[in-house]
Amino acid sequence: MSEKEQPKPAAAPPPGPPPKPQPKNPGFVTATVDGREVVVKPGTNMIEAAKTVGSEIPYYCYHPRLTIAANCRMCLVEVSNAPKLQPACQTPLSEGLVVKTATARVKEQQRAVMEFLLLNHPVDCSICDQAGECKLQDYYMRYDHKPSRLEGSKILKSKRKVLGPQVVLDQERCILCTRCVRFMQEVAKEPQLGLFGRGSNERIDTFPGAALDSNYSGNTVDICPVGALLNRDFRFRARAWFLSSAPSVCTGCSRNCSTFVDFYGQDVYRYRPRENEAINKSWMCDHGRLTYKELNRDRALQPLAGRGPDARDVAKAEAAKVAATKLSALAGTPGLAVAISPNCTNENIMAAMSFAKDVLKVPHVHVSGRPTGAADHLLLTADRNANRKGLEWIAAGFGLQVKPFDELSRGIDGGAVKALWAVGGDVPEDLGAFTQIASRLELFVLQAQNESRLGAVADVLLPASSHVEDEGSVANQDGIVQRLRQAFPPKGESQPHWKWVSDLHAALGITTTWASAREVWRALSNRVPELASFEWDTKAPPAREARGLKPIPAAADGRPPGYREYGAPRVRGI
């Protein structure tokens, strides 16, 4: 065995990285997620790619409309080109990559992350507004479902830190995903929130001396995946699983942000923004968010005939009879004026204008509505009326001239206008001053949603239902028409404007075919070219969208306990 050892050949240089594979689908990235092939645009992250093939990757900090933070570590998945688990939110899909979202390693990682997140989380579900729509609860049941191993006590932080007029923060519940910080910085462009401290003392807070007073602060509550940021207006007022949701539109300004109306019985508890790429993305402003209060308080619920102290409750038919007789007696006279609010839905405006044009024979209508405010940099517009565009379209379609409101008040003041039929109780001027002026009217028929001083000087007050109490459509300032769905039936004796108009017709012996807002649309929308192409039925969002936790229903369709189709619901306290 004297074989000499051969000198080793010089070590070959290590092989370079493998050549990049040719894309299977040019212009797209083709990869495999959980054994299924996905074809996506380059740059798409794994969470979105996995969604397209039905694999759900859990996440807290990721939000499709915000930058990537990758700090929650919930979305770690196994990929074929890295030894360690990779965050799916941050990693774009590359050609030929094999992603596995449900292996034992991934599951153990998810369980471990959940355990860490819950380690210092307070035992708050029973008093937390987020309970029922909380990602911690959802993911705990899906990815952890193990008992606590914490020995000792939890870290205590500030439990109720008021950040601003809308938002209160419970720092103990916070999981530090920084969605709120990123939202304020990137979307609202008002960086009012920051991350302070380190380690176990790390917390979200406002900068010293500053407050979270942006008009968009409410969105931080919506995107908070846990119950840390809470809306001060909604806090402790309702449990999420008792609320039903109807897709609707915010009528706070002419932006018409898509919303969900969350209601219980016949009371609205909050608006939440509804995804709409064309208008509001995922957001809405605090101003609009609070306009729901008009739907609950000071509602006109009973038809009244007679002015001031002579006012008496009357039946709907009698009120309509009195109003119709008095108005039609003045039909065609120059002293009769019509004011229509641009807050009404298209259906209500069309019905009102058809009565104004064909029965009252007025040549023009005055536009009432809320006073103009200040626009801001994102969503809120100066015009605080939802449907001015629709009103203008319809007036043009019906051949009616649109006149500003101050002409009307001047006309009444000067004595030229002696009778007024107002559809909608908002006035763009000082309410007290206009009430003074309106008290000089010989005949004042008012259809209003809310009680106000103006109602006290009306000869006939016809209570109108709100936009969430009927089907309908509105057009925003850019001419985008949206459908809104009925959440609950009209409160009290109120009814939609179109129904009052229908009753006015009926009181005069004129038959209309309108039995619903849909039929008003079908009968009248062909007179308005801009509305003729809108597909009223197919554009309607599903009437009730189930979201978050599905409550144990009181009725099979998810209506709240006590809901009755006809008559007043039996509303229990919450």
Binding site: V123, C125, M141, H145, L549, I552, A556
Partner: protein, 408 residues
């Protein structure tokens, strides 16, 4: 008999001998008649005393059980199942739970299986005792009824100690049982079984060789084995026809394979055989309960998986994990995987089948019950048409129709 000679005609005799015009008569039996267990209406067409047509009409006790289940969580269905066969609620509870567990793919702890068998067999005894006692009562044998009910009361007391309720037990949870046996319960059961055996033999002695009883039971309410199978009979009513079908033997579940018991069979498919099969089954139940009690293993009675089973209360009140699991299980229910399942157990009256469909949520998408009594009630006209009206009562007794189960 010889003609009486020289008998002076009695007053009114001519009327007796006159040709009585008979026409068919329709009589309602029930719905509110003590012999029509529950509230079933039997529309009987009579030719004299012969039943020409019998038409059972159900629906007076309909509660929308199956539809109601779609509106509540899987766990909340359980109290509804109590009201099916309310004489033996435990078997409905356990049957439903077994089907849900099959749909999820759960294997429950061994001790829970034993207790489920013990509970089932106790309630089977209660059911059979009620049936046998009612037969005797409605044929005029009040004492036998009292003995049977005395025995049943013992069982009801033991079930009350176990579940906390006399009738609507709502016992067991998906994944096992909500509580273990109470202290000293096993001894009490054994003592009760001794007493029940005495009472059962008393009933047996009073009835089985009683001339009146036998005359009214034998050869009445007969159904052939093929007809019984065609109608979908199961349980004692089918076994009385001589068909050896018992779910506990045919598709064994829980710990039945480990138990030594016989399936008593009849021969004629008449009322008497249905009665005697039940008397014999009482003896078999006694055997099974004693065996199960002696083999009862220690251990947990429910799984430890917080996706299925509520966490212990200290965990719920003290840890966020526990309160979350509790909240989700109560508010959303157990997330049963999407799919469908048919599962059956041997209830007192036969095969209690469950067809469950889940859409993956916390509430059933569909719950269908194959109640044994429904098929058997449908066979009553077949058993009774052409027979005497008086045979209807024992027939209706021995099929042991339970309104809550048939009409759901």
């Amino acid at each position: 008999m010889a003609e009486p000679v020289d008998a002076a005609p009695q007053a009114g005799e001519s009327e007796l001998e006159a040709h009585l015009e008979t026409k068919r008569m329709i009589v309602n039996l029930g719905p509110s008649h003590p012999a029509m267990h529950g509230t079933v209406r039997m529309r009987v067409e009579l030719e004299g005393e012969t039943i020409v047509r019998a038409d059972p009409e159900i629906g007076f006790l309909h509660r929308g059980f199956q539809k109601s289940c779609e509106n509540v969580t899987w766990t909340q269905c359980l109290p509804y199942t109590d009201r099916l066969n309310y004489v033996s609620a435990l078997m409905n509870n356990f049957g439903f739970l077994n089907a849900v567990e099959k749909l999820i793919g759960l294997e429950i702890p061994e001790r829970a299986k034993f207790i489920r068998v013990i509970g089932s067999e106790l309630h089977r005894m209660a059911d059979h005792l009620t049936c046998v006692g009612a037969v005797a009562l409605e044929l005029g044998g009040f004492s036998a009824f009292l003995y049977a009910i005395e025995a049943r009361e013992l069982l009801v007391d033991r079930v009350t100690e176990l579940t906390g309720a006399r009738l609507t037990t709502t016992f067991g949870r998906v994944g096992g049982l909500n509580r273990d046996l109470p202290d000293g319960w096993v001894d009490k059961v054994l003592k009760s079984l001794d007493k029940i055996a005495l009472l059962r033999d008393e009933v047996d002695a009073l009835l089985t060789k009683n001339r009146i009883f036998v005359d009214r039971m034998k050869g009445t309410g007969v159904i052939a084995a093929e007809d019984a199978l065609d109608y979908g009979f199961t349980g004692p009513c089918l076994r009385a026809c001589g068909v050896n079908y018992d779910v506990r033997k045919a598709h064994p579940y829980w710990i039945y394979p480990a138990l030594d018991f016989d399936v008593p069979l009849g021969r004629n498919g008449d009322n008497f055989d249905r009665y005697i099969v039940r008397i014999e089954e009482l003896k078999q139940c006694d055997r099974m309960v004693r065996q199960a009690l002696s083999l009862l293993p220690p251990g947990p009675v429910i799984l430890d998986d917080w996706r299925i089973v509520l966490p212990p209360k200290p965990e719920v009140y003290g840890t966020i994990e526990g309160v979350m699991a509790h909240f989700k299980l109560i508010m959303e229910g157990i997330q049963v995987p999407a799919g469908e399942v048919y599962d059956c157990t041997e209830a007192a009256n036969g095969e209690l089948g469950w067809y469950l469909v889940s859409d993956g949520g916390g509430r059933p998408y569909k719950v269908h019950v194959r109640s044994p009594g429904f098929a058997i009630l449908a066979g009553v006209p077949r058993m009774i048409e052409g027979r005497m009206l008086a045979d209807l009562i024992p027939t209706f007794d021995t099929i042991n129709m339970i309104g809550g189960e048939v009409e759901q």
